[in-house]
Symmetry: C2
Subunit: 354 residues, 2 copies
């Protein structure tokens, strides 16, 4: 965080803005909190994210207001201060376009996008470590000054994030692919369940739960995000529509085989490209299934026993079976650790499947 | 399992057939194993799922062959034996239609669909408890005899499953909704990632991982399943295409707001109808987030401490942050248990967020 001295003005004391304030405050950087809703700024101040009144001019302004207002606030802050200005919106072209209409010189502005969040909103959901280890995209435009870019990078690093630099256009296409399109597909799939009778929903398994999970997100916020990225999303959605039409044509034929298989095989190729939880290339993990009674203390006993085997559990999934008091835990470990894990657990009395 | 005496002939010693054999063998029912591939039958016999040679006529035949062959094998078994015949295919109209073309009397046939599986295939992936607590749909057709329906119910219960009776048509529409459509949506979403540059995939988060997970399933098997259920699926896919067109029109407008929000809000209504892991109505769980070092033994220590609070952990999710040696565990508990859990964990030195 070499170049970042502060003060940092945070405009918008919601989840993201307040978390940035908390992260900077733990490093001793002076943070000024501004919010159109005085209650938000007050709450953020109370939990230690900064002060509502700071007498010194800011070195850096972070605009963390709802997507529709970002461009106007960027222009306003460029006019009011001599500070570098960045924003935290999840789409980068629209704030830039909006700001350009209102400000003549954007050299002090550099867009950024901290890729962390929570299903909860508002300052009380904020956490000093929200960005620890997260990806923080930095999106300079053609007239961003190198000093401004460097200062925004310092901000991201001070918050504990790993930075990735992308052009504005590239960023928006990337998030259309890995965030906005999956969101819409999840919403469309979930939408077909609205009119389903309960007897149909009774047959739900883990697949439909996974596919529809993010469809529960806030429609108001997602409308703003998706609208702001309409250009990048439209191209992808048109691809989806073409593929969907191919599927419909194939299903109408006597022999649907080859065309369907090619759509499904393309899905396999895409799915295995999604990075694993470490943000590193996809690593194949091996699963060890263990049956456990569904009562307090059993997971503790299981993990004690797993730890005794020396295996590091990389991920896990709990699947309760409907109508009976036992569940199944899937422990995912690196290939090579599974034999020792199975042996240790079996020796300690667990029912283990591979 | 009152009426089920055996022998039970299992045709198709793959994952499902062999697991049925193992489940019945543990109850002492004589199981005959038949497979077009003699290696499969041999392996299934070796792990105790039954015998390849049984001299007594079967009371019940279970057809567990790949979807495309089910109808023909049902007709063949009806002709060869006096037994009740059922199958385990995941689509029910097509086997019935196919069998009708080949057999004049289907009163001894009742379709069924044990809703359990694994990402692994073949007899060696089989487990005696695969169906314990699972849902097993039973789908009588208009001329199924009541005795045959009863015997198939006994089979499902002997395997430890919970039965749900549905008409053939209703079953196929239900699985189109909660299984086949989510599968296709996942494949279509994943398909758009095939050509993405690595820099785009670096921005992937949990959302795209969840939505695309099942897209990694076997394209050959899914082609057979989806083709067999084309009638039910076509209607749903046409709904999706109409909604997708609405989204595309909305994105092309200056003010996309209301129409997009209505599609997204419909998604929320659908998503919250998906039953939770217990197969019971969706219960809102409360999450408690805990930061943990990514090394062996930490999960054990965490679960010991969680158990000490008296809270039952209903579900959990591990999220490793890229590029640093700590992870975050989200513990999901029933509302009311979260305060005590947070207090206990904090007292024991964990960094807990709400």
């Amino acid at each position: 965080m070499s170049g970042l001295r502060g003060p940092v003005r945070v405009v918008g004391a919601g989840l993201i803005g307040t978390s940035i304030g908390l992260a900077l405050a733990r490093l001793g950087v002076v943070v000024e909190l501004v919010d159109a809703n005085p209650d938000n700024a007050l709450m953020a101040e109370r939990i230690g994210a900064g002060s509502r009144l700071v007498q010194i001019e800011p070195q850096l302004v972070v605009v963390a207001v709802p997507p529709d207002h970002v461009g106007a606030v960027i222009a306003e802050q460029l006019a009011q201060t001599d500070a570098v200005v960045t924003d935290a919106a999840s789409v980068k072209s629209k704030p830039l376009t909006d700001a350009r209409l209102l400000a003549s010189d954007l050299s002090r502005y550099v867009g950024s996008h901290p890729m962390a969040g929570s299903e909860r909103n508002g300052p009380l959901a904020a956490r000093a470590d929200l960005f620890d280890g997260a990806t923080w995209a930095i999106t300079p435009h053609s007239s961003s000054s190198p000093e401004a870019v460097e200062l925004v990078r310092c901000l991201a690093e001070a918050c504990g994030a790993r930075t990735v630099e992308l052009s504005v256009e590239d960023h928006d296409l990337a998030v259309a692919r890995v965030s906005h399109l999956p969101q819409l597909m999840s919403s469309l799939a979930a939408g077909t369940l609205v009119d389903a009778p309960n007897s149909h929903l009774q047959l739900s398994g883990q697949g439909v739960r996974d596919v529809t999970r993010i469809a529960a997100g806030d429609p108001g916020l997602w409308t703003q995000i998706v609208s702001a990225n309409s250009a990048a999303l439209t191209g992808l959605l048109e691809q989806i529509r073409d593929e969907l039409d191919r599927v419909l044509v194939a299903l109408g034929k006597e022999e649907a085989g080859d065309e369907l298989t090619s759509v499904l095989a393309r899905g396999v190729s895409g799915a295995i490209r999604v990075p694993g939880k470490h943000g590193t290339p996809h690593i194949e993990l091996v699963s060890v299934l263990v049956t456990i009674p569904d009562r307090p203390g059993q997971l503790a006993r299981l993990f004690n026993d797993a730890a005794a085997s020396g295996a590091n559990v990389e991920d896990l999934r709990i699947d309760h079976s409907p109508g009976r008091p036992v569940g199944e835990v899937e422990l995912l470990v690196k290939p090579g650790s599974d034999d020792q894990l199975t042996e240790t657990l079996t020796a300690r009395g667990w029912v283990v499947h591979r």
